[in-house]
């Protein structure tokens, strides 16, 4: 009884303290603790630092200050729901949970509450169909795109044919890890390669069986859908069995600095996909001088310019551009979530605009439409240079095979629409 009243008082206090300001409210559902903290911290730092930069340099977006509310989820769906409920009342404009599990929770909720949800390179792939998922956006790319981009890269490496090759997929045995299987199966039938699936159970510290199997079967390539401790162990084990690292390709959640550094020099040559090449963007210097040197860095400031930091910053840039677009469409500075959704649906990212923002080449050019919430799906391949300690972009942006993915997206989103009684259509 006592606990309840205490919490109630505390809550009431926080509610009154929070609602006074009228800003652009961006919740950041981050995870700085728990098994996936190493991935969550840099992303969140980048996400927040970019908004801090906008506040410091431009006074926010369209003259309206941005207020970021950070809420710790620890990658846990229940905490994610609590965070969502706690922040939506503050006028949250856009959600970016960085967790496939939480995304599935939020898809029905944000749709019912009319708040846009941006899941960048994760979440539900078929949300690319904007006619079914009006409030969910997963541009610039999704998991199925990633699978196709990886295969297209390998096709390119092998002179256009993968006939008779074997590709092993090492995946996290969860919703996230199972995402690419369908696409890869289609592609294997199409290109004539053999696909071997190797599941790794959470958390993935013990992968000896999987890698001994790889050593026995000697696949030509290994693809990996990993996250958390699984990545570090897989890179180490691949090096242990002497698998050629240049034939080992992770997806974009298995290609950050902390995934390869524990293995040291042995990780040299490991490749991964990425949607945001890590190069010396001018905007990073601005963040350094206007945000970090001013003492406003989110976190300890040590992640500036790392793969996931840049991705978080990229996500923040896409959100800011969408808000600016919404302000332009509706002619008001203090936009609502519904207006931001319109902005996201009309979003167009051009090379000129990215250069103007000091982020030349951070992502592909794309335009969002009502039918396509998924962007172009392009990704690139990067390679780890262990002696220099940097991820070097190997290729330019590679396009996925939309002829394979589009039917899969249509099929899955139609199933969802039928299951939840949605009539597809634009808002």
């Amino acid at each position: 009884m006592k606990m309840k009243t205490l919490a109630a008082m505390a809550l009431a206090g926080s509610m009154t303290a929070g609602t006074a300001m009228a800003d652009l409210v961006i919740p950041d559902l981050s995870y700085r603790t728990g098994p996936y903290a190493a991935g969550g911290v840099p992303f969140s730092d980048g996400y927040q630092d970019y908004f801090a930069l906008l506040n410091a340099r431009d006074g926010g977006i369209g003259g309206e200050a941005v207020r970021v509310i950070e809420c710790e989820t620890a990658y846990n769906t229940e905490r994610g729901v609590e965070c969502y409920e706690a922040t939506k009342g503050e006028g949250a404009l856009i959600y970016q949970p960085l967790s496939t599990g939480i995304t599935y929770q939020l898809i029905p909720r944000t749709t019912a509450d009319n708040i846009p949800l941006h899941t960048m390179g994760y979440g539900r792939t078929s949300a690319a169909n904007g006619e079914v998922f009006n409030w969910v956006f997963n541009y610039p790319a999704n998991y199925w795109d990633a699978a196709s981009v990886a295969v297209n890269y390998l096709l390119d490496e092998n002179g256009g044919s993968l006939d008779g090759k074997t590709i092993a997929l090492v995946y996290h045995n969860s919703a996230y890890g199972k995402e690419p299987i369908r696409t890869l199966e289609e592609l294997s039938a199409m290109h004539g390669f053999t696909l071997t699936q190797l599941a790794v159970d959470h958390p993935g510290q013990e992968q000896k069986s999987q890698w001994l199997q790889i050593r026995r079967e000697r696949p030509d390539y290994v693809l990996m859908w990993g996250w958390g401790v699984m990545n570090q162990v897989a890179v180490q084990e691949a090096a242990n069995i002497g698998f050629p690292m240049e034939n080992f390709i992770g997806n974009w959640w298995a290609g950050a600095e902390h995934d390869v550094t524990p293995a040291g020099m042995a990780a040299n040559g490991y490749k991964s996909l990425n949607m945001n090449p890590v190069i010396d963007y001018p905007v990073l210097a601005e963040i350094q001088s206007l945000v970090h040197d001013a003492g406003n860095a989110a976190g300890d400031g040590s992640h500036l310019g790392s793969v996931l930091y840049v991705r978080g910053m990229y996500a923040a840039m896409l959100a800011a551009e969408a808000i600016a677009k919404a302000q332009e469409i509706h002619g008001v500075a203090d936009v609502t979530p519904a207006m931001v959704r319109d902005g996201m649906e009309a979003l167009e990212i051009t090379a000129a605009r990215m250069t103007e923002l000091g982020m030349e080449g951070i992502g592909p050019e794309f335009a969002v439409t009502c039918q396509n919430h998924g962007g172009t799906g392009q990704g690139l391949v990067q390679q780890w240079n262990a002696s220099a300690g940097v991820w070097e972009p190997l290729t330019g942006f590679i396009s996925p095979d939309t002829s394979v993915i589009a039917p899969l997206v249509a099929e899955d989103s139609a199933a969802f629409a039928a299951e939840s009684g949605i009539t597809p259509g634009c808002l």
Binding site: A10, V81, E82, T125, N173, H202
Partner: protein
């Protein structure tokens, strides 16, 4: 002065064995029920429902279930997460296979299916005891989670293995799906909790409850005085799993709406529910409620205080939260090893004698 009986003047067995022998307790019990059923639903908003009340109600059901097994029958189980998953997936399969049948029936059936699974996994308890049994129940936990992840029939062959609850109605009001009103979520959980608590209360003070407690206190001695350990242990597993299955079904269908088995029903859940009953008090229904309330409210309260009131960085608060929860658990155990329920009992004893303790 209010809080006492005027002496021991019971004239019937009914009066002697009633749940609340003190009149004030009875009034308070009815008052809590009236407030819970008639007042709270009109004030509950989405935050309170989703972040505090609904998880509390659902965990309370799970805690009652586990308390029957662990607190009353003395069999420590770490399979709670797996059994909740059985309830959730059974409910999902029933909901999607028989969309015309009421969700209430689905949830009860899901409980029944879980009871069968629980009884099957309870079989080793006839041979294995103590911590060995606790670890053995982890086999159920890991196997069930793996199975729901692997066999795509359970999630209707969807690409990612997530299950999503379709919209269902009770008496014309949506209780699952995104358009559920907070009060509806709250009410359906409350009704289930009330019924479960009543069943549990009456089971534990009847023949079957007494045979459980005999097994708990000393199973060999119980066997000698004529309690059938097979029957007692398996019924404890079955009844406990029935409640846990219902909580799992509600957890999936009403609370989260979409779950992934490894994340939602992993080993963490098993531990969480076990913490609840130990903190609350083993072998006490009130303890199940108190423990669930404590572990649902404490993190939220600490977060609100740390982040919203003090304005500290979220990661610092999250780390401090672990420290504080850990320290509080140890502190409580040192001060009162038998849980919050024992504190409550002691307080009541004192009140009963107050103001003339001698």
């Amino acid at each position: 002065m209010l809080y006492r009986e005027a002496g021991d003047f019971k004239t019937s067995y009914q009066a002697d064995s009633q749940t609340f022998p003190i009149a004030f307790d009875r009034w308070r019990y009815w008052a809590v029920l009236v407030i819970a059923f008639c007042v709270v639903p009109f004030f509950v908003n989405a935050y309170w429902a989703n972040a505090i009340l609904v998880p509390f109600l659902i965990y309370a059901i799970a805690a009652i279930g586990l308390n029957i097994l662990t607190g009353y029958c003395g069999q420590v189980s770490l399979g709670t997460g797996g059994f909740m998953a059985v309830g959730a997936y059974a409910c999902y399969k029933l909901m999607t296979s028989f969309p015309d049948v009421s969700i209430v029936i689905h949830i009860i059936l899901a409980g029944g299916i879980t009871a069968a699974v629980g009884a099957a996994f309870g079989l080793p308890s006839l041979r294995i005891k103590g911590f060995y049994l606790a670890v053995a129940t982890l086999a159920a936990q890991f196997f069930l989670v793996w199975m729901f992840n692997k066999v795509s029939w359970f999630y209707n062959y969807s690409a990612s293995g997530q299950i999503t609850a379709p919209e269902r109605f009770v008496a014309g009001v949506a209780v699952t799906g995104p358009h559920t009103a907070p009060w509806a979520q709250y009410m359906i959980c409350l009704v289930f909790l009330t019924v479960c608590a009543l069943i549990a209360r009456n089971l534990t003070r009847g023949t079957i409850g007494r045979s459980w407690m005999a097994i708990r206190d000393m199973d060999i001695a119980a066997e000698i005085i004529g309690v059938n350990p097979l029957k007692a242990k398996l019924t404890a597993f079955a009844v406990s799993s029935f409640f846990i299955g219902i909580s799992g079904a509600l957890f999936f269908a009403v609370y989260l709406g979409a779950v992934e088995v490894g994340e939602a029903f992993g080993i963490q859940k098993s531990f969480l529910v076990l913490f609840m009953i130990i903190i609350g008090g083993l072998g006490s229904l009130f303890g199940s409620f108190a423990g669930a309330a404590f572990l649902v409210l404490l993190p939220v309260a600490l977060k609100v205080i740390g982040v919203d009131l003090l304005g500290w960085p979220t990661d610092l608060v999250a780390h401090l939260q672990l420290v504080i929860v850990g320290a509080l658990i140890m502190f409580f155990l040192i001060k009162e090893p038998h849980g919050l329920a024992q504190l409550w009992r002691l307080a009541k004893e004192k009140l009963r004698l107050w103001p003339f303790p001698y």
